[in-house]
Symmetry: C2
Subunit: 263 residues, 2 copies
């Protein structure tokens, strides 16, 4: 009943590789983060004309893309190795055995069949509501409030502290969604589910942009980079902080609809 770590070990590393930073993106700064570019394509822009503009990338932008590619690939490779070591350990094998046994012989408590799940689901909803109430949603609801870049040039190497409550809400929102599914079944309240999905997607964008801006700031601290590279990383950092702001705005809009629909 062992799972085979080799199946993970021989996965094609190219499948994890970053997209070519110079390919198919019009905003040079956003290039290494294709997910964001794709999200923006849903907006009111004209169809992309990537080919003629690709040549406009400055040397600095190309170097910045290569630098980020190198640093993020290194981080991914390290994480990959760590995961492989964990998968090959005897501790993981013991857990895999245990899970396989649990799947066939679920150790249910005697009251499990009659336990009402709804209070637990309500508790998850309350925790989410409390966390959302603590968010600065009034500011987030004003377009172009530029709150996300307030600490733009802070020398701190830690991630932006102002992002943490939003990351927390992202986790609580997912818990709430799972709890709803457990209580009402996968097809219950489909319309409201779509709204929760929109809010969750906005918070996923928020996390991605937050990490992208941190990666750009981190890369800019690399010693002996060219000024043009640092300039491009600065543009990328500010652009991703504005994407953080945009994601908060999108969440506020989605959440507003949710509240109106539920009342």
């Amino acid at each position: 009943t062992h799972t085979d770590p080799a199946a993970f070990a021989h996965a094609d590393p190219a499948a994890f590789a970053l997209a070519d930073p110079a390919a198919g993106s019009r905003t040079a700064g956003a290039a290494p983060f294709p997910q964001r570019a794709a999200a923006r394509d849903a907006g009111p822009r004209n169809p992309p004309a990537a080919a003629p503009e690709r040549g406009n990338l400055t040397v600095g932008a190309a170097k910045a893309g290569a630098l980020l590619d190198r640093q993020l690939t290194l981080a991914r490779t390290r994480a990959h190795s760590t995961a492989l070591q964990a998968l090959g350990s005897s501790r993981f094998h013991a857990i895999a055995d245990k899970v396989a046994v649990l799947a066939s012989e679920v150790p249910l408590a005697k009251t499990a069949g009659t336990t009402d799940l709804r209070p637990l689901a309500t508790a998850a909803q309350d925790r989410l509501a409390d966390a959302v109430t603590a968010l600065p949603l009034v500011v987030a609801g004003h377009p172009y409030n530029s709150a996300a870049l307030v600490h733009g040039l802070s020398p701190d190497t830690v991630p932006h502290p102002q992002d943490a409550p939003w990351h927390q809400v992202r986790l609580l929102l997912r818990l709430h969604r799972y709890a709803r599914e457990a209580v009402s079944g996968p097809k219950g309240n489909a319309v409201v589910d779509l709204r929760l999905l929109a809010a969750g997607q906005a918070l996923n964008r928020h996390r991605d942009a937050s990490e992208a801006s941190a990666a750009a700031a981190q890369a800019a601290r690399t010693p002996r980079i060219a000024p043009a590279t640092a300039y491009a990383l600065g543009v990328l950092h500010a652009d991703q902080r504005h994407e953080v702001e945009a994601a908060r705005f999108a969440f506020q809009q989605a959440w507003q609809k949710e509240t109106v629909g539920a009342s």
Copy 2:
């Protein structure tokens, strides 16, 4: 009847000096442009807490501020000298004499008293309406469309071509406002005037941000600057391009109200 150029020559240069880039601004990137920070203060932000955050400015941001201060002060000094030379020229004196004579003996045509100004005012309004129709207002009306940063890392040294139509509308809007005042008197249609003023202020913000972003990009081309300085200039450039986007959004909102109110 000569105007005295000396009155200009001895104006206090300090009155023109740029504000201290490190003083009283929370967004480090926006520091050298206090007008923008002031405009943002009207928004939903918390009251400024400048003192504790000022120490967070990186060396790069401080250097970038000093570099911009130096370059913009040099440009201002040059313009000042050029203006002084023009004011001291015999050609300017001749014009000043002519203007003084015109003020006392206006050479009105015989039909001037009965000419209907309204067709001329309507023509100014039509030119404005045509120019606004050509603007990408649908895109501008979507918050966070990120259209202004599309050419963010273009190596062109010329100002962004996409800004030109907006600058043109700014001039036409001012002409239209003057024409309205000439036709209806300074107190006519005060409510709609406020809306035109809001649209005009948005376009002033647009021009300021456009020039600020160009100044940051230009400063980043200074040879042998430190990477940290270039990074800060990149953040400033992207931030000001987003301010361009924000100003377009504000104009679209103001103009929308104007059209609804007039119909």
